[in-house]
């Protein structure tokens, strides 16, 4: 971590180094799916795509929980809303086949609307109470999706919506293998680039917002809501804005999920998913974008990687002693507990958070002293 910090400060101070690093990162991200496709197989390209979806989700939840400090345990509901908007508007279910550039933004918008819908009655709640209500909201959406097949069949109930159109431009489907410029791209790879572009867009939006008037207002509300109101911040609107922004990211991600999977059903949107996304931002470092992204990547990739434990066991012990799926959750749980003990502020915390968790920060005291000296 220390060397990482050193690298980071170097990149911050040296513009050229920063550009080189950025270009290198871009190249890596660009060739990653191709390498993964060849090296690890198509299943891993899928994992890669899911990773990007979860990065988007985590970034959205980070706005609500990390910036505005509103603990939301029903966040997956907005993902569901986005997914179902896409699914219902471009599948044989209603016979509608709207293109994705309509359904994706629409999904984000509808999710944002649901964000406001959830936000409005919970404005007076904070902390545990808000968590309980949002948890309930998440479940309500899932149960609605499960039961809205009668008397009028809207969501097709537990069977879910099938045969959803893939993302396609005219006849060019991004879910199928295509030959472009003499290179063969498998379906997952093409989608990866779309997902990557939208993920970068969400990162950009987050970056811009966090250092803005709006971002400061969110943090001010997290720090002290009464004082924020007494400083002229319309806490109602700013909180609703946080809910709407966070939900719109989830809606976008959900739409991509529906187009990617070709199938959605209510069971994909259970409480565990909400908690998983919360884990991502807590593990990575709440409020800090690189941390949140790292958390999302780790918690999507690690469970997949831990599937290989079965094979490892076979090599070591000759047979599978513990089912990998059981062990996965065990290791995962242990990792989280260890995190909370060893590094409660997350892997890459924001400076603000790191300070919050380290009450005794002698380094900062020194910094302050040097400021005093400089002023003399």
């Amino acid at each position: 971590m220390a060397s990482f910090g050193l690298l980071w400060s170097r990149l911050k101070n040296d513009r050229r180094a920063a550009w080189i690093a950025l270009v290198a990162l871009g190249v890596v991200l660009a060739v990653l799916p191709l390498l993964v496709d060849v090296g690890l197989g198509r299943a891993w390209v899928r994992v890669l795509n899911f990773t990007l979806l979860y990065v988007m989700l985590a970034l959205g939840l980070n706005i609500v929980v990390g910036y505005a400090g509103l603990l939301d345990l029903g966040y997956i509901a907005f993902y569901a809303v986005g997914a179902y908007v896409y699914a219902l508007l471009s599948s044989p279910h209603f016979g509608l086949h709207l293109p994705f550039w309509v359904t994706l933004p629409l999904g984000a918008l509808v999710a944002a609307f649901f964000g406001v819908l959830l936000g409005a009655p919970t404005l007076r709640l904070r902390g545990d109470y808000l968590a309980i209500v949002t948890l309930g909201f998440g479940e309500i959406i899932r149960i609605f999706l499960n039961n809205l097949n009668a008397p009028v069949n809207i969501t097709n109930g537990p069977q879910g919506v099938n045969l959803i159109d893939p993302l396609r431009i005219g006849e060019f489907s991004l879910n199928q293998t295509q030959v472009l410029l003499g290179m063969t791209f498998t379906g997952g790879t093409l989608l990866y680039y779309v997902f990557l572009a939208l993920t970068l867009l969400t990162i950009f939006v987050c970056l811009r917002l966090q250092d803005s008037r709006i971002g400061r207002a969110w943090i001010a509300i997290r720090e002290d809501e009464v004082a924020a109101a007494a400083m002229g911040i319309n806490t109602r609107n700013i909180k609703l804005l946080a809910f709407a922004m966070g939900a719109s990211f989830a809606g976008l991600s959900g739409g991509l999920f529906a187009g990617f999977q070709g199938f959605v059903s209510p069971e994909s949107f259970n409480l565990l998913e909400s908690i998983m996304i919360l884990c991502m931002i807590v593990l990575g470092g709440m409020g800090n974008l690189p941390g949140v992204i790292l958390g999302a990547v780790l918690l999507t990739v690690l469970p997949e990687a831990l599937r290989y434990i079965g094979e490892l066991e076979r090599v070591l012990f000759g047979r599978v002693l513990v089912e990998p799926s059981d062990l996965r959750m065990l290791i995962f749980g242990l990792a989280l507990v260890a995190m909370m003990i060893l590094r409660p502020e997350g892997l890459l915390p924001s400076k603000r958070r790191a300070r919050e968790f380290n009450a005794d920060d002698s380094v900062l005291e020194q910094e302050r002293a040097s400021v005093y000296d400089a002023s003399k």
């Binding site: 811009r208 709006i214 001010a220 400083m231």
Partner: protein, 255 residues
């Protein structure tokens, strides 16, 4: 010209009448002191004026507008800002950011402006930053701009709260015990600061204070609260000799 007129304010918490029939008026450009023993209802009155509490009865008129229908943030917008008795800074934000938050209600950049960094948004942000630095300079903690609010010394935190409230461009600044916990030299500096705020920025000040010496030296007029009632009002010298005030502070047979 009167800036703030509160008439017949009542505020009850259950059966407890925290304020009953309190009226006072603050003139534009004056320093008005609100004193009284602990539990007299001074902070309650502040909370009513700034919209944190809704009054059970009465009227507040500020600069020609009725305040009681407004939410706290709207009251700030009208030009009445406050500080808190138990300091309520945004502890994990820097001093500069704290003051910039104070500029929130005087700026407009929304989500779209922030994402696109529109020229107007950038301009506004730069102006906000400049103004925040200037205000930190006014209260005398310019060098602490990048320090986290919670790492400031107690006196500096009080100053930062004043800077943050000033950032909202108040006509009337309500200070809830600004000198609490300060040592004598800090008090003197604070008195000078408050006088400068009035003379240089033209801010009207309403302050709650316990320190009688500070109030007498600083305020043009003083009102005394006791058990939720106003028992005296007038020039400091005159109030000081009022038997009811003496009784409230020292105890006595006067009811």
């Amino acid at each position: 010209m009167t800036l703030l007129v509160a008439t017949h304010i009542d505020k009850a918490f259950g059966g407890l009448a925290a304020l009953s029939d309190v009226s006072l008026s603050v003139n534009s450009g004056e320093i008005f002191g609100l004193i009284g023993p602990n539990g007299a209802g001074k902070t309650t009155l502040f909370n009513v004026l700034t919209g944190l509490y809704t009054a059970s009865g009465g009227q507040v008129c500020f600069d020609g507008q009725s305040l009681l229908v407004h939410k706290p943030h709207a009251i700030v917008h009208l030009g009445l800002a406050r500080t808190f008795q138990n300091i309520r800074l945004f502890a994990n934000m820097t001093a500069l950011e704290n003051v910039m938050v104070g500029r929130h209600c005087r700026t407009r950049t929304g989500v779209w402006g922030a994402i696109t960094r529109s020229p107007r948004g950038c301009e506004e942000e730069a102006a906000m930053r400049k103004r925040a630095h200037a205000l930190l300079d006014v209260v005398g903690i310019r060098t602490q701009a990048q320090a986290l609010a919670k790492h400031l010394s107690y006196g500096d935190q009080r100053r930062l709260e004043i800077a943050r409230a000033l950032a909202t461009e108040p006509k009337l600044l309500a200070l809830d015990e600004p000198a609490a916990g300060m040592n004598p030299s800090e008090r003197v500096a604070l008195t000078q600061l408050l006088q400068r705020l009035r003379s240089e920025l033209g801010v009207t000040l309403l302050l709650i204070e316990h320190d009688v010496k500070l109030v007498m030296g600083l305020c043009d007029r003083v009102a005394v609260l006791d058990y939720g009632k106003k028992i005296a009002e007038g020039a400091p010298a005159q109030v000081r000799t009022d038997p009811r005030v003496i009784a409230a502070y020292l105890g006595g047979a006067v009811a």
